[in-house]
C-alpha cells in the first residue's frame, strides 16, 4: 500500500511538472550537441586569436599581437577587398534569378521539366562546378579558348591573372547561386495574390509599373531570403577558391575564408592564433548580417503573437 502510494506521488509530481520539464528533456540532446560543436568553438576561437600557437606545442599569450600583425598584412587586405568584390558581384544572382523566374513563370508544354533543369546547378557540389569552370577557363584546351583567340587574347588565362582571377571565380559561383535565387523567386511568384494583380491591371497598371509597385512588394519575403543566402554564400566562399585557384596567383584571388585556412592549416604553416584572428574578423562581419536576420525574425514573431 505504502509502495503504491509513493509511486502514485512520484507520478503526480512528474505529471504536475511535466509541462515545465518536458521542453528541457526534448531540447537537451540537440542543445548539448550544438553547444559543444558550434557555440563553444566560437568563443574558443576568439580566445585562441590572442595566442601564438602551432597546434602542438604550448600556446603563448600575445595579446593583440595577431590583430596588429593583420593590420600590416598586405594579403589580409587583398582578401578583405576580394570579399567585398564577392559581396557586390555575387548580389547579381538576386536580380538575375528574379528575371529568370519571371521568364519561366508560364504554363507551357514541358515547363516543369525545364524549371527543374534550371534549378539543377544548385544541387551539384561546388567542387564539381569549380572543376568545370576551371576547365572552361583553360587558355589552350578550354571551352572559351576559341572565343579568346577570336578577340585576340590568345593563351590568356583568366585564373592566372591577378586582375581577373577573382571575377572568374565569382562568375562560376554565380551559376549555382542564380539557380538558388530562381527557386526562391519562383516560389514567391507562385504565392502572389492573384486578385491584387488583377486589381492592378484593372487600374491600368502594366509592365514595369505593375511589376515594381504591385509584384515586387509581394515578393518581399523571397527577396529577403535571396539576399540573406547570397550574402552568406559570398562570405562563406571557400570551396570555389580552394578548387579553382587556391587563392592564387600570389594571393590575388584569396578571400578571408580561404586565407584563414591557408594560415592555420596548410603547408604554409600552422599558425592557429593568426588564423583565428582572421576568422574572428570574418565572424564579426558576418555577425552584422546574422543580427539583422534575427532582428527581422524577432519582429515577425512579435507580429505573430499580437
Amino acid at each position: 500500500m505504502e509502495l503504491n502510494n509513493s509511486k502514485a506521488k512520484r507520478i503526480t509530481w512528474f505529471q504536475k511538472n511535466q509541462v515545465k520539464i518536458s521542453p528541457w528533456i526534448f531540447l537537451a540532446p540537440g542543445l548539448i550537441f550544438f553547444s559543444i560543436y558550434v557555440i563553444a568553438p566560437i568563443f574558443v576561437s576568439i580566445g585562441i586569436s590572442f595566442y601564438q600557437w602551432d597546434g602542438l606545442s604550448p600556446s603563448i599569450y600575445v595579446g593583440l599581437q595577431n590583430y596588429i600583425e593583420l593590420l600590416d598584412d598586405e594579403y589580409f587586405y587583398i582578401s578583405l577587398w576580394n570579399n567585398l568584390k564577392w559581396l557586390i558581384f555575387f548580389m547579381l544572382a538576386v536580380p538575375i534569378g528574379l528575371g529568370l523566374a519571371i521568364f519561366l513563370n508560364q504554363i507551357v508544354f514541358g515547363i516543369r521539366l525545364i524549371k527543374s533543369l534550371f534549378f539543377f546547378p544548385f544541387v551539384i557540389s561546388q567542387v564539381v562546378i569549380g572543376l568545370i569552370f576551371t576547365w572552361f577557363y583553360q587558355p589552350n584546351y578550354g571551352v572559351i579558348a576559341p572565343f579568346l583567340n577570336f578577340i585576340g587574347l590568345e593563351g590568356f588565362s583568366i585564373l592566372a591573372n591577378e586582375n581577373t582571377a577573382t571575377y572568374g571565380i565569382i562568375f562560376a559561383g554565380l551559376y549555382p547561386q542564380i539557380a538558388y535565387c530562381l527557386i526562391l523567386y519562383l516560389t514567391g511568384l507562385n504565392n502572389i495574390n492573384p486578385e491584387q494583380i488583377e486589381a492592378g491591371r484593372m487600374d491600368g497598371a502594366k509592365g514595369f509599373h505593375l511589376f515594381w509597385n504591385i509584384v515586387l512588394p509581394q515578393l518581399r519575403h523571397a527577396t529577403f531570403l535571396a539576399i540573406v543566402v547570397t550574402v552568406i554564400g559570398a562570405l562563406r566562399s571557400f570551396d570555389m577558391v580552394a578548387i579553382m585557384t587556391q587563392g592564387g596567383p600570389y594571393g590575388y584571388s584569396n578571400v578571408l575564408a580561404y586565407y584563414m585556412f591557408e594560415q592555420a592549416l596548410s603547408e604554409y604553416g600552422y599558425r592557429m592564433g593568426y588564423g583565428s584572428a582572421i576568422a574572428t574578423v570574418l565572424f564579426t562581419i558576418m555577425m552584422f548580417y546574422i543580427l539583422f536576420f534575427i532582428y527581422r525574425m524577432y519582429r515577425n514573431e512579435r507580429e505573430d503573437n499580437n
Partner: protein
C-alpha cells in the same frame, strides 16, 4: 498571375517565347553538356582540343571503368554515403525534438535558444575550424567518418531546428490541447500526434541535408586525411591534382559525384523546394 500568361499574348509573342525557352535552357546548361560530352571522349580528343565537336570515339564506359578501377572512387562514394545518411538521420531526429520543444512550450528562454540555433547556423565555418578539429583529435575521432558525422549532425541541427520549429508552430494547437486534456503524456503527444504530422517537414529536411552534406568539401578537408575515410568531394579534388589534363576522367568522376544528389533532387523536388524556402511553398 504575373507575368501575363503567354497564351493571352499575341500569337507572334507565343512563338517567340516557345523558341526562346529551349534556347535559354541550352545556354544555361552548357557547363553540364560540357562535362557530359567530355565524359564520352578519349584522351585523343582532349589533346586535339576537340571539345565541342562530335566525339571521335565513344568511351564513356571505358572512362567509367578507368575511374572506378584505377582510383579509389568507389571507396570515396561509399564514404560519402556513410557520412551523409547517418548525418541526415541524426540531425532530423535531434531537430524533431528541439523543434517540438521550441514550438510548443512557453518558457522564458525559448526565443533566445531559438535564436542561438539560427545564429549558429549562419556562422562562418572558419570560426569553428580550429576548436572542432582539436576536439575531434582529443576524442580520438580525427580522420574517421564518425568524427565527421558528429560535427555535421551538430551543425545541421541549427538549420533543422529553425525549420522544424516553424513547421510545428504552424500546426493546429487544438490537437495538442485536446490530447493534454485527455491526459496524454508529453512524450506521447510528441510521438503519436506531432511526429506523424511532421512527415512532410522530415522529408524536406532529409533531401536538403542529403545534398548539403554530400556536397560538403570544407569539413571533409579539415577533419579527414587519407583515402580510407575521404568523401567524394575531397576525393575528386585530390584526383584532380593527379589527372591534371585528363579532362575526360575528371568529367566522368564529376558526373559520378553529382549523380546521387541529382537523383535525390528529381525524386523529391517538391520537398526540396519547400525546404529551401523554409516552408513558404503552397505545394
Amino acid at each position: 498571375m504575373f507575368p501575363t500568361p503567354i497564351h493571352q499574348r499575341p500569337i507572334v509573342n507565343q512563338y517567340i517565347y516557345k523558341i526562346f525557352l529551349p534556347i535559354s535552357l541550352i545556354i544555361w546548361l552548357i557547363p553540364i553538356f560540357g562535362i557530359l560530352m567530355t565524359s564520352i571522349r578519349g584522351l585523343g580528343d582532349i589533346t586535339a582540343g576537340n571539345m565541342w565537336g562530335t566525339p571521335s570515339e565513344f568511351l564513356l564506359f571505358s572512362n567509367l571503368y578507368d575511374v572506378f578501377t584505377n582510383t579509389p572512387m568507389i571507396k570515396y562514394t561509399l564514404n560519402s554515403f556513410k557520412v551523409t545518411i547517418p548525418t541526415m538521420l541524426g540531425a532530423v531526429a535531434l531537430s524533431c525534438m528541439t523543434g517540438f520543444a521550441l514550438a510548443n512550450y512557453k518558457f522564458k528562454t525559448n526565443l533566445i535558444i531559438f535564436f542561438i540555433f539560427i545564429a549558429g547556423n549562419f556562422v562562418p565555418f572558419q570560426i569553428l575550424m580550429i576548436p572542432v578539429r582539436d576536439l575531434t583529435f582529443k576524442i580520438g575521432l580525427y580522420n574517421t567518418i564518425t568524427g565527421l558525422v558528429l560535427f555535421h549532425v551538430a551543425f545541421q541541427t541549427g538549420f533543422c531546428t529553425l525549420f522544424m520549429r516553424n513547421f510545428i508552430k504552424a500546426l493546429p494547437q487544438e490537437l495538442i490541447e485536446a490530447a493534454r486534456m485527455d491526459g496524454a503524456s508529453e512524450f506521447r503527444i510528441f510521438w503519436k500526434i506531432i511526429l506523424p504530422l511532421t512527415r512532410p517537414a522530415i522529408a524536406a529536411l532529409c533531401v536538403l541535408i542529403f545534398t548539403f552534406i554530400w556536397n560538403d568539401y570544407f569539413w571533409a578537408t579539415v577533419l579527414i586525411q587519407g583515402d580510407h575515410a575521404m568523401p567524394i568531394t575531397a576525393g575528386l579534388k585530390s584526383l584532380n591534382g593527379q589527372w591534371i589534363t585528363a579532362y575526360h576522367l575528371l568529367s566522368t568522376g564529376s558526373i559520378v559525384a553529382a549523380i546521387p544528389p541529382v537523383i535525390m533532387f528529381f525524386l523529391m523536388q517538391k520537398h526540396f523546394i519547400a525546404g529551401l524556402t523554409l516552408g513558404a511553398t503552397k505545394g
